[in-house]
Symmetry: C2
Subunit: 315 residues, 2 copies
């Protein structure tokens, strides 16, 4: 069986590939495809790296073949980027998903199709606790595109064209590397940069509640999402992956506790209304019940997000 990861050069794509190679899942080929040439996360002959703009004519169509058994669709343009480049956002976030679903429908109907959605589908006036039955009213083009894809994956699943699984990811913290064009980029910056001895600015007020997952939990949960049976999901294939609610203040308290007051002091508050508008429209708490029933796992405490980052950073 062949597994495909779109966005295979990205943050999650690389980590997912590594985790799959180390997992007990049986497959004979793992294709990493991305508009940026992916590198193989390990010396494993099963890995095939492909550079391809999936919005290009025929690219998605040629990617899926009768050998494909599982597709993780992670390729995306992140939130602030999609907000600034409106056309690119629609093209990558909506059109590529549709092209891939069509490719599955015609080349290999019924394959497992794991779609990475986001809590950014929520927005506006939300209840204190968001649940699976809360309406999605996104306040960003990124959230809109993800919400539209969720609906599309569900309809293709209902029709039997794919065996879809829509996983709504919490905000991920701590992402290694450099800041990116996600509106939530600061969530990692305010932990990562101080630990690396750099200054960081926080564009939102300390009391803002965020809904977070660690990279390790996300990767485990994405694989879980692929290995559950379709029936486990019932009639609706969308699930909010579990997260924990933390305020910016609590994050900085953790940082100070685990590192030092000097490290904490490298974070300064510099309000940015554009970022604030997007991020504060996201839920601060989501009901984890269904996800936990399905067997997804949740992080325990924000302190461990920091220790996880520090130990990976040193590795």
């Amino acid at each position: 069986m062949q597994i495909i990861i779109t966005g295979g050069a990205g943050f999650l794509g690389q980590r997912l590939a590594k985790a799959l190679l180390n997992s007990s899942l049986a497959f004979d080929e793992l294709v990493l495809v991305d508009v940026l040439m992916p590198t193989s996360p390990g010396a494993d002959s099963r890995v095939l790296c492909q550079q391809s703009d999936l919005s290009a004519e025929g690219a998605a169509q040629n990617l899926v073949t009768s050998r494909t058994g599982l597709l993780f669709h992670l390729a995306a343009v992140v939130s602030s980027h999609a907000e600034h480049d409106f056309d690119l956002g629609w093209n990558v976030n909506l059109d590529i998903t549709r092209l891939l679903l069509e490719a599955c429908r015609h080349q290999r109907p019924g394959i497992r199709f794991v779609f990475a959605s986001s809590l950014a589908v929520y927005g506006g006036n939300l209840p204190a606790l968001v649940t699976d039955s809360t309406a999605v009213t996104p306040r960003s083009s990124y959230g809109t595109q993800k919400a539209m894809c969720e609906l599309m994956v569900n309809d293709y699943s209902r029709k039997g064209f794919v065996d879809g699984r829509v996983l709504r990811l919490p905000t991920i913290c701590v992402r290694p590397g450099r800041p990116n064009q996600a509106a939530s980029s600061f969530v990692s910056s305010i932990i990562r940069e101080p630990i690396n001895g750099e200054l960081a600015s926080c564009p939102v007020p300390p009391e803002l509640a965020l809904w977070l997952s660690s990279p390790a939990a996300i990767i485990e949960n994405i694989i879980k999402g692929a290995t559950l049976s379709g029936e486990d999901f019932g009639g609706w294939r969308t699930v909010n992956l579990p997260g924990i609610g933390v305020t910016v203040q609590q994050m900085l308290d953790s940082l100070e506790r685990i590192t030092s007051p000097e490290t904490r002091a490298r974070v300064q508050f510099r309000p940015d209304p554009a970022i604030d508008a997007i991020v504060s429209s996201w839920p601060g708490a989501i009901d984890n019940t269904r996800a936990l029933q399905l067997g997804f796992r949740v992080d325990s405490h924000f302190d461990q997000f920091i220790t996880q980052f520090i130990s990976n950073n040193q590795a």
Copy 2:
């Protein structure tokens, strides 16, 4: 100012055109556009009828010009039709909406864009009373496409590319004419055909609750949706137009009361699981509070649906 109605040859398009011509709304041109050549609903020099497949290259783009001030987007492929012809449904229901939004964005940003959505965006396990904050989990491709368009119109509105209004229509009863390819077609048939002396079959059980609006109320409400100010809608442009909840049994009781037992006896129950699956996934009751606050109007009793039909039928 020019007004455009897409789906202008359709049931609602024709009635809306007639109502606009008789209204106090000021405009100098009313374009009816449809893949079937529309006829003018009155001898009025302001009416321009255009035959155009809006999915064709350039058609949507050329439709909207700097003179356009208001666009009613009603063109669609209805529920059972979109369920049977999957590609056509996506093409007409999703792609044309996007092409029209793009046309507005580029030719005449900020114009009023009224989109006819449907209660079919709801589906699955619904609460007894559906509200604006109930998640949409459609169980048909039609509902999926409408739900995706709703999100898109909201995002284009947030960006200021259009001044969008998304109106979720209840099931309309009594539609004159012949049965169509809507899954809800029987809802009109079981009243219309007996009154016209014909037999009708009902594919769902008598206890099924439907959420209905009369054609007259719908047309008034569509015009209301166009004349409200954008701010009235607040941050989210989607509204459930008001309806009344009636069971099939209550409809038939009304029919017998207003006509005769002989007329009522022309309806026979013939279960159709495919129709039942779609229609019974729709809500039987929706909270009208927000719609009524916005000034939309609601029908009073199902008896009047029948008398409205009979008097129009004789006119």
